[in-house]
């Protein structure tokens, strides 16, 4: 087979797979709508404020509720010692500490 034909075949397959993936994504989104609604309802009922992404430190479990000093809870020069703290930046758009 010509090299260029192989290349186009490869491109074609990839494109088809990607299209399938995105179609699959759209399909999944539709299917999950009720789950999302259920979770949103739970958030409202329980008055939650954060996603449960990291459970190792208070300020990464509830980043929206954390104050600026939380990472320095031990003493002012205490370096970050939770790995998730290096993933999560400080709260954006805060008006105070």
């Amino acid at each position: 087979m010509r090299r260029s034909s192989l290349f186009f075949l490869y491109l074609g397959i990839q494109t088809v797979l990607l299209a399938a993936a995105f179609t699959h994504a759209a399909y999944l989104r539709g299917g999950h709508a009720s789950d999302i609604a259920g979770t949103a309802a739970m958030v409202q009922r329980l008055e939650l404020t954060d996603l449960c992404l990291f459970t190792e430190a208070r300020y990464t479990r509830h980043p929206t509720q954390a104050d600026m000093f939380a990472p320095f809870q031990d003493h002012p020069l205490s370096l970050e010692h939770f790995p998730s703290g290096s993933l999560l930046g400080p709260r954006q758009g805060r008006r105070g500490p």
């Binding site: 090299r3 990607l18 993933l87 758009g93």
Partner: protein
Amino acid sequence: MRIWIEKQRNVIDFTLSSLARRKGKNIALLLVYTLLVFLLASVMFFTHALRKEASLVLQGAPEIVVQRMAAGRHDLVPGTYMDAIRAIRGASDVHGRLWGYYFDPVMRANYTLMVPQDFSFGEGNIAVGHGISRSRFAYAGDLLSFRRYDGEPMVLTISEVLSPASELVSSDLILISERDFRRLFGMAEGMFTDIVLTVRNAKEVATVAGKVQKLLPDTRPIMKSEILRTYDTIFDWRSGLIVVILSAAVLAFVIFAWDKASGLSAEERKEIGILKAVGWETSDVLLMKFWEGTTVSLSSFLAGVLLAYVHVFFTDVVLFEPVLKGWSTLYPTFKLVPYISAYQVATLFFLTVVPYTVATIIPSWRAATIDPDSVMRS
């Protein structure tokens, strides 16, 4: 049209033959390039899906949360503060929230304990999040024992396990009655973790928050808009590890482009000379260079994006798991709903494919315009 297509195919044939001459190097290049795109696309897909879900799910978060600060730290708030807040015009449904953290030394895990407004299971019972159930193999009917603030044990029965579909917000939650909560943590009656309130008129929220702060100077109001904004910008380029990944990726791309842009080898120059001598025009040579860049970058881009999609939405971001998990022993499953931003994919395409192709073409310009005559005399 047929001629144009045939011409492209011919040029691609030659380009691929030319690349195949240095098979090892080019395969390595392809793999590393794909890996880079995979990494960037994975971060992109993961972040976008998470943000989208957060924005949908946290719509029901409290309008304003009022925290009390003491000596710069988050402290309990007395119930009397609520009276002052109720007096503010526009504030409604003012009540206290009771929640806190419990460290389980057996599992070395942190749980978030919460007292919901409508706890229906009665004293002595709790509802646990699906993540807790998973990690402790605890199901409805099982007993969980806790240590109270004074060291005494406290045993509670699991009445319900929260749905796995809501793990994103409830994985580590334990819903508990108010009395049990206060007994467990030794929190006095009339003290609360924080106060929440609703503001009927959406435009008034900031004003009311300002009034709360003025009225109660040792408090810190947090608005829902701030909550949503935090998750809108989660994992953006400013967060620590993301900066590292992005920098590494940028550096790698710069190295690739540099390798191409720093000029052609003598061998490549000779090849271009021969092409011109046998009748290829300058534009044909540049076309070949275009395909040389595009075959590599396009192939890598498509493969990388596809692999990233599978990685994030089929394997639940398995490769990032060690990083995301950190030291937590309780780890939610990231079964994210695949929200994809076409804009981001397009941006990634332009950032990864175009510069590399350009870096391949530009340095060849000079060589492509040489007089074929020089080949005769070499």
